[in-house]
Each structure stands twice: as C-alpha cells, then as structure tokens.
Amino acid sequence: MAEDQGDPHHQDPNRRDFIHIAAGAAAVGAGAMVAWPLINSMNPAADTLALSTIEFDLTKVQQGQQVVIKWQGKPVFVRYRTPKEIQDAASTPLGDLKDPQPDAERVKEGHSQYLVVIGSCTHLGCVPTFGAGDFGGWFCPCHGSHYDTSGRIRKGPAPKNLVVPTYEYASDTRVKIG
C-alpha cells in the first residue's frame, strides 16, 4: 500500500475499519436472525402446549393409598392420607425441612386428606416409590431422596419439595388439574 501514500483518493484507515466492523456486525446480526427461527422451532410446538387440563374423580382413591395419573406427560400422585399421616406432616417443625413449607400450604383448605403432587423427583426426575423411605412418604430409587407425607424433601440429594401443580376442586369429589 506504499504507493497509495501520495494518492489524493487515499482513504482514511478509520473509515475502512468502520466499514469492516459494520459489515461484520451486519453479517453477525443476519446470522442470528437466521439462527433464531431454527432454534425456536425446537421449543414446544403449539399442539404440545395445548395439552389441556384433566379431571380426576377422588372417590377412586382409598384411604392410605395413592393413584398415579398422567398429566402433560408426567405422573401426578393423588394421595388420600390417613389422619396419622396428616398429623405427622402438620406437626413437623419447619426447621427440620430443607425446603421449608407448612403442610397447610400444600393442600387445599378443608381437603387436607388429599395431597396432589407431581410425581417427579426434584433431583433428576425419577418417579418416587409410594410409602417407602424413612419418612413414610416417598422414596426415590434413583439417588435415594426421602420425601415425607406432605411430599417435602427430608433427606437425600433432591433440592426441592415435590411440586404441587395448579389444581382446583370442581366439586367435593372431583379435582381439575392444570
């Protein structure tokens, strides 16, 4: 470029740098605009998101038992708790809990015998076994998490309590989940 030095049309190097940077930025922006629809197409499709609510008849559960239903591809536990199990859950001091939450917040008022939780261990998503473990709730066979009769994590690697899904009582014996 030495011969350009005396040329009156010699360009200011700052202008050339600007063009390089602007062109590079435009290419990166265009690349991102092309990539985004491709990435976004991997998000849940409309029909997947449209998975609606389900209703469940509570008379199907016996006291001291649970029924597993499938909602949005995940298991949901509906557990009819015995008075002793409710008493155990309600009397646990919050200080003993890894993810403190009173039992009353995890059931609907006046329906404390029915516990509805998503049956995926909050550690890595296995389905915990009913009635097993040190606290009478559930025990996850994969990595040894123990849940109590309120579905709260008590021991093991799971960080959170079993998730209570959004649900409401359609009548005294029917719940609508979702």
């Binding site: 991997m42 849940p44 499709a45 997947t48 499938k70 298991p75 890595l124 389905v127 994969c142 990595h143």
Partner: protein
C-alpha cells in the same frame, strides 16, 4: 515430521493428469510414507482401532436408520422388528450396540496411553484438546443413541440426563423445555435425539480429520517421549507403511476377536435387561444405571450431595482433561522416566475403575457387608457413598494437586538422547561419533 518431503512420483499418465489437478493420490502416498518413530509399542495401535470403530458405527448405523422408526408409539416395536424380521438385523444391531462399548474401551485405553506417555504436552496440546472434544461428542452420541430403542432404561436415562441441565440456576428450566421440546420427555424429544444421533458421528469424523492434521503437524509422540531431532529422523523413524499398517492391522485383528466374542456369543452382556421393557413414563425401574462407560462420571455425580454441585463435578471431571497440558508442570513427557508419577498414575487407573464399580452400586449399600459402621454427615462410612467420595477426591486431586506438585518435586530418571539408546544397551556409540549421516541409513 510434517516437513518431510514428498517422495511420490506419479507413474502413469492418469496419475500425472490427476497430480496437477487434485493431488489426492500424492496426499495418500505421503501419508503412507510418513516418518513414524520406530519404537511405537502396541499402546499406539488404538488410533487405528478407533478409526475402525467409527467406520463400523457409521456403517451399521446408516443401515439401522433404514429400518428404525423415531416415534414413541413405534420405536420399540421397530427395534424388535429389526431383531426378528429384518434380514441379519439382529447382527447389525448387536454390532452397533456392542460397537459403542468397544469404541469406549479403545478410547479409554487411547487416552490413558496419552496420559502415561505425556502425549498432551507441547507441542501436542491441540491434538489432545481435539481428542477431548471427540471424547465429549462420543459420550453425547452414545447417550442419544441409547435413548432410541425407547425401552425403560432409554426413557429414564434420558429423563435423568436431561434433568442435569435443569439443575443450572435460572436458565436451566427454559433450556430443559427447549431441549425436550415439551414439558416432559416425549415424541418431540425422541425425534430430535434421532436427528442428532445421526448428525454427531459426522461431526466426530470432522474432528478426527483435525486430530490427524494436528498429529502430523506436531509429529507423533513415542514411548521415550523425546522429540526426534531432525538429523536423527532417518535413523529413528520408519515409514508408516508397511511398518505400522501391519502392526495396526495385527492389533485390529486381536481387537476384532474381542468384539466378535461379544457380538456372537454374549451380545447382551454389556446392556441392561430393563431396556427390553417398553418405556413407561409412570414407572421408574428400581435401579437406574447408565451404560458401563459412563459409570465413573455417574458415580461422581452421585457423590456430591448438592444437585447443581453434582452436575458441575461431573462435567468438571471431563472438562479438566481439556486443561491437562497446563496442569502438568513436568518437562519430562514419558512416565517411564518419572518414577513417582508412575505410581500416582497406576492409582489413578485403579480409582477410575473403582469409580465405575461404585457407579453401578446403590449409594447406601455397605461396601463390606456386616462390618460395623457409623454415620458420617449424610451416610454410613461403610457405604458406596463414602467410597465414591474418596475416589472422586483422588480423581480431582490427581489433576489439580498431584500433577502440578509432583512435576515440580520429582527427580526424573536420566532421559536417553535418542529413542534407539535404550534399545542398544550402553548407548548408540556409532551415532555419538557420527551424528549426522542420515544418507547411510537409506
């Protein structure tokens, strides 16, 4: 060694025509004539074995994809159809499934060879790092492929492993849903896993090209670990072909015998019976274990009581390999001349096997049944949980403490000046007298 001059002479008119347009025959001929250290032992044959493994996996995989249906309703049945109805389908599938295990046996031995002989040290860092990328892609590909038969282990393996990503604070959950294509593992997940399982082997093949390019640029390491001086090239190297094509070929035959044993006589020995049960999203198998080649990393995951911490440790166990060239402070490559490091290396190999063993056990189970024990923090001392933690501690200490410290403290044994010196006892006196006379050697 990369700067060796081309000795290829086109012999026919077609070769001459080709040579001025696309010198691909020259490329192949130069590759075969590559000066290779003459002292390479059988630990150096795993590169060729791994190339064969990749070819076998791609060839059988492309055929299997012609018969497989990536749909949650049909996947399991389509795999059973391959096993029962497709001509030779059972052998093709068993070759592909056991081929994955063979691939990992070979890659672990290949990596341990690199570790023992210091093949990751300057000027070969890029060979090692690309190798680590290939290893990571292999793990990803193997995991994706294991999901495809849509058995119980497939489904719950996918559930557990994708949940690892959900452990990342804040952004984990949206990424998890994006990755699965829905709130749970379902058809969208299976479809994309199939797509990626088909894609990644070709990405691996691309990385293998880079791996070899870097290898031929920096030159091969050798058991003595010294760089071969330019004036010694003729004495200390031999052409790749026929010397190492034959040696690699012999090792490949031995390896294929092991491969054939599993495919023909024990095809399900390395798998899990639970994967012959169709996937059920409502019931987890009593005992989930990954395939054997992931057990050490799975053990590390379980050893950490915190969910995110476990995920970090597990990925860290692979990630640490990438920075290995900068953790080792020793200037001696080969552990042949590093008496203390050699012992730590042997313990490391045993710890790796121990981690794999622990990964297959229930964490709460006692290591020595019946031995009295006490609870330390969150588990009995006499349990696989604490044994795993001990091994995990050694795994990381090996890289972050032992490698840097031993490299500085250790007094290495005297290193031979040439690779022929240890062979010709008493030293290569002839060479010492007349160092630069390569033409005599032809």
């Amino acid at each position: 060694m990369s700067d060796h001059e081309s000795t290829y002479v086109p012999k026919t008119a077609i070769e001459r025509w080709m040579d001025t347009r696309l010198p691909i025959i020259r490329f192949g001929a130069d590759y075969m004539a590559l000066p290779t250290p003459r002292n390479l032992n059988y630990w150096w044959t795993f590169g060729a074995i791994l190339a064969l493994c990749l070819v076998i996996q791609i060839a059988t995989g492309v055929i299997l994809a012609m018969h497989y249906v990536p749909n949650t309703e049909l996947a399991f049945a389509s795999v059973e159809r391959i096993m029962r109805d497709v001509n030779g389908g059972d052998l093709i599938r068993y070759t592909h499934a056991n081929g994955a295990s063979m691939f990992f046996i070979a890659v672990y031995l290949h990596m341990l060879r690199g570790l023992y002989y210091g093949s990751y040290k300057a000027p070969r860092e890029m060979i090692w790092i690309i190798g680590c990328v290939i290893f990571f892609l292999m793990i990803a590909t193997a995991f994706l492929g294991y999901v495809l038969p849509w058995g119980q282990m497939s489904f719950w393996g996918a559930e557990v492993i994708t949940n690892l990503i959900g452990a990342i604070p804040l952004i984990g959950e949206p990424i998890l849903i994006w990755l699965r294509g829905g709130p749970a593992i379902d058809n969208a997940t299976l479809n994309r896993f199939f797509s990626l399982h088909y894609l990644l082997p070709f990405v691996i093949a691309g990385c293998v090209v880079l791996h070899l390019w870097a290898l031929h640029s920096a030159g091969q390491n050798n058991p003595v670990g010294i760089l071969i001086p330019k004036e010694r090239t003729a004495k200390d190297t031999v052409p790749f072909h026929p010397y190492f094509t034959v040696k690699d070929g012999f090792a490949i035959i031995l390896f294929l015998m092991l491969f054939a044993y599993f495919v023909f006589f024990n095809p399900n020995a390395l798998g899990h019976a639970d994967n012959y049960i169709p996937a059920n999203p409502l019931q987890t198998p009593a005992h989930i274990v990954p395939e054997w080649y992931m057990l050490p990393f799975y053990a590390i995951l379980r050893a950490i009581p915190d969910k995110f911490g476990g995920v970090v440790a597990m990925f860290g166990a692979i990630g640490v390999l990438f920075i290995l060239p900068w953790l080792d402070t020793s200037r001696v490559r080969s552990m042949r001349y590093r008496p203390s490091m050699k012992i730590f290396f042997m313990i490391f190999v045993l710890v790796g096997i121990g981690l794999g063993w622990c990964g297959a056990q229930l964490p709460d189970a006692p290591v020595v049944p019946g031995m009295p024990s006490f609870v330390l923090f969150d588990g009995a001392l006499n349990s696989y949980l604490w044994l795993t933690r001990l091994f995990t501690a050694y795994y990381f200490a090996f890289f972050f403490l032992i490698m840097p410290i031993v490299g500085l403290k250790e007094t290495p044994l005297p290193i031979p000046a040439t690779i022929s010196e240890p062979v010709l006892a008493g030293g290569d006196a002839m060479t010492a007298a007349a160092p630069a006379s390569p033409e005599k050697k032809g």
